[in-house]
Symmetry: C2
């Protein structure tokens, strides 16, 4: 017989040097110091990059927003090339929900971009090639980003800038080994059906380190993730898809919380539900909510007013659309202008977690979103902008909002302010928290909530379209606790 067994995958479970599995190698990197810089030096380097990349970002009125215009017939805000993204109107019907139908501006960007982290072993330890990247919407402009963060327009060279460095590692045909690669959604309240390809590739050849890039271990990135506004959203979502196993060393010692986190990484841990239950719970909620989405002219969004320098809701709430002028010397092009979506107030995102039979469980929420591709995704326990509810009756307050607002400091295991996508949002700040509930917390959650282990979240993540971007960010944060 003609032998094609050379095609067979021999690598599963025995991928790297020393016959460690991929998950074991990523786990080892999470516990290691870097070969090139200490974490302190990484932070210092990021500060230096922020000074080197001297940018100025200024608000401009729409009539000065070069390259962009409102179309006559629809009032949609579009780029003259027809690419990048557009600001359009969306008519949403959602049932059951306190507001059964509404209209709003929405960012339409159907292109699938690439968010990629290149990893490579040095002295037996995996390092991630991280980038110090300016994005105009970040309060501090430069944050730690994936190796590649490119829209399709970017990498098809629409704005005629320099080539995207390291893109060749992520675009097929490629050398190197794909560690994880899935389509993952972004902010469903602000984007229509937006997904990016999240991809991690292990380089086999030498990799030149360009200015603005730095090799760091996963442990170092995790240390930086605990600081306000350092690790950007794109880096967080790519971190979240990496495989991890329970570390061989360390049992959590005398710390029952850490022990429970470690056990929660195990595929065989004793859990409240099975993965089949989790998929069924998402399916049930997708069938339960009726979501209709209709693209409408931006001009037809009721309650939204277009002024000279912003499109805002009459209430002053939700968000506004504004224009910015960006002057820079170290991006694909030296200067540009673009619209950004500016949230009216910061958000609160929290995982409530609980030790159940010695295994950490996270309380997920099946949450529909206006621009969701598939109706519902698993979201953080609390996912809201508290300002929205100040004037609404108590009955409309999100579940667990008051619980999170009132949680005593001793229960708070993680607490950091992080920015959302600075390429599309202006100062979109969220407070990310992981809060351990006390023993008296009700055992059985409401039907659109479910207790899942960390390993179960990682399983759902592999396939895309299951966890929203805020839940993925919080999962990356949760990994800092072991």
């Amino acid at each position: 017989m003609y032998r094609i067994s050379s095609l067979l995958d021999r690598s599963r479970g025995h991928a790297g040097p020393g016959h460690r599995s991929l998950a074991e190698r990523f786990t080892a990197s999470a516990g290691a110091e870097g070969r090139f810089r200490t974490t302190e030096e990484c932070l210092q380097w990021l500060g230096e990059q922020r000074e080197l990349q001297a940018y100025a970002v200024e608000r401009v009125p729409f009539d000065k927003l070069q390259g962009w215009r409102f179309t006559d017939d629809t009032g949609n805000l579009v780029h003259h090339s027809g690419r990048f993204f557009t600001i359009e109107g969306l008519e949403v019907g959602l049932s059951p929900f306190r507001v059964p139908t509404w209209t709003q501006p929405i960012i339409v960007q159907r292109e699938i971009g690439i968010l990629g982290i290149l990893v490579k072993e040095f002295d037996g330890v995996l390092h991630c090639l991280m980038q110090a990247k300016m994005e105009p919407g970040n309060r501090n402009l430069v944050q730690l980003s994936p190796t590649v963060q490119a829209t399709r327009s970017n990498y098809m060279r629409v704005h005629q800038g320099r080539a995207i460095p390291y893109l060749e590692h992520f675009a097929a045909p490629r050398r190197g080994r794909v560690v994880a690669d899935s389509l993952q959604s972004e902010q469903g309240g602000w984007f229509l059906h937006k997904r990016n390809r999240n991809i991690v590739v292990e380089a086999e050849d030498d990799v030149e380190v360009l200015p603005g890039f730095c090799w760091m271990t996963i442990g170092q990135v995790r240390q930086l993730l605990q600081l306000d506004d350092v690790v950007n959203m794109d880096a967080r979502t790519v971190l979240s898809i990496m495989p991890f196993a329970r570390p061989h060393t360390g049992t959590g010692g005398d710390d029952p919380f850490r022990s429970a986190v470690l056990r929660s990484l195990e595929p065989e841990a004793s859990t409240v539900h099975t993965v089949t239950d989790a998929i069924s719970w998402l399916t049930e909620n997708k069938a339960r909510f009726e979501l209709t989405q209709r693209r409408i002219p931006l001009l037809d969004t009721a309650g939204w007013h277009r002024g000279a320098d912003e499109i805002a809701h009459v209430s002053g709430g939700y968000f506004s659309i504004v224009g910015v002028d960006v002057r820079a010397k170290d991006r694909e092009v030296g200067a540009w202008m673009q619209p950004l979506l500016r949230p009216a107030a910061p958000g609160r995102l929290a995982f409530l977690v609980r030790r159940i039979d010695g295994v950490l469980h996270v309380l997920l929420q099946a949450r529909p979103a206006a621009g969701a591709l598939d109706i519902v995704e698993a979201a953080p326990t609390l996912h809201c902008t508290p300002q929205t509810f100040r004037t609404l009756p108590t009955a409309h307050r999100p579940r667990f909002l008051d619980y999170v607002l009132d949680a005593p400091q001793r229960q708070v295991r993680f607490d950091t302010w992080l920015s959302e996508e600075g390429g599309r949002f202006l100062h979109a700040l969220n407070r990310y928290q992981i809060i351990e509930v006390e023993d008296t917390f009700p055992a059985t959650p409401p039907p659109n909530f479910m207790w899942l282990s960390i390993h179960q979240l990682m399983t759902l993540l592999r396939f895309g379209n299951c966890l929203n971007v805020e839940a993925r960010s919080l999962l990356a944060c949760l990994h800092t606790l072991w």
Copy 2:
């Protein structure tokens, strides 16, 4: 500490009587004769039901199609209730593809229906409660269907008929145990974003058997699946999501093909690719194809002509939309009229399979579809209507079309004519084949094809949105070969 470990799932891997796992119990049912009827008697019962359920289905012109009308402004074909489904126009852009843009009629049915099979153990063997169900588009009208096959309009009682029997087992809150539950797509060339909830529930209580229903083992259903036009599409897709393990008994004996099928059921079998590779391959193809979909008035579909009794393409190809008058005495309502989509010619669907290192691998195709929710799904190796290509240049013929048409009988492992959804399609017949390739078949497939094991297909299936309905049907057929 307040103990909530009573919440813990104790059942995984030790679900049923005798501590067999769920997959083992489904596997045992696949090898068992039925407790109530022999397979021969099941077939006889189906024939009796066909005579008992005396239906007449007749074509009617659109102006006699009661309850349905063409709207004045768009020409869309709609039901007066605004529910069920509509026939609208779709403008499709697909790149790369031999036709970069086109318009066509499409069935729009955004509601998520339920396709559910109830299972229950008798004498230690799982049985499925199958239904003899009439659907107007079936050539032989009555076929073997899931326990419940209900659109949301059906079960919300839009047409005021009798209640759907057994629905209470599938709608939350329910008793019984969910075995599998996911959203799965249907014909992407004919439906826009259509999915149904595929669900299997194990009953814990006694279940009354109503007229038109029959308990059968999975083995019996599989025997019937090998006959032309007996097991309907909805039953096939629900069968495809059931869990199976390699049987404890049987090694395939002297039959190397059957041995390879059995090994392909094992999670640990040696495979060409990993599941991560498979997800990456789908992701790559979703990023590679650009698919745009815009709903347009049915009146604006170029090349399509509305006559008195059909909407057809000027070429006579593809499909037409027709109306039927259904008179029956044993469905939710006694008589109704509705449009159906009538394919112009039968289709060919084939899995090419190959033994690689003693493990059966199936060649899947990453295939975009006009109405797909997520651009691309894994489809059969060959998935086409040969008639379409008769007049086109050879370069446009689908890969492997000639290979399938010319395959000698000795390589054909499965060969059956099956119908697609008789509630929406009129005489939509496809020839389903599983063909083993010879040793000289090229080892490395084109980039939008991938060799995967049966267990890997089952893993992708669990999450939904991965395998198209024709691939799921063929997977159900493939299971008849062990």
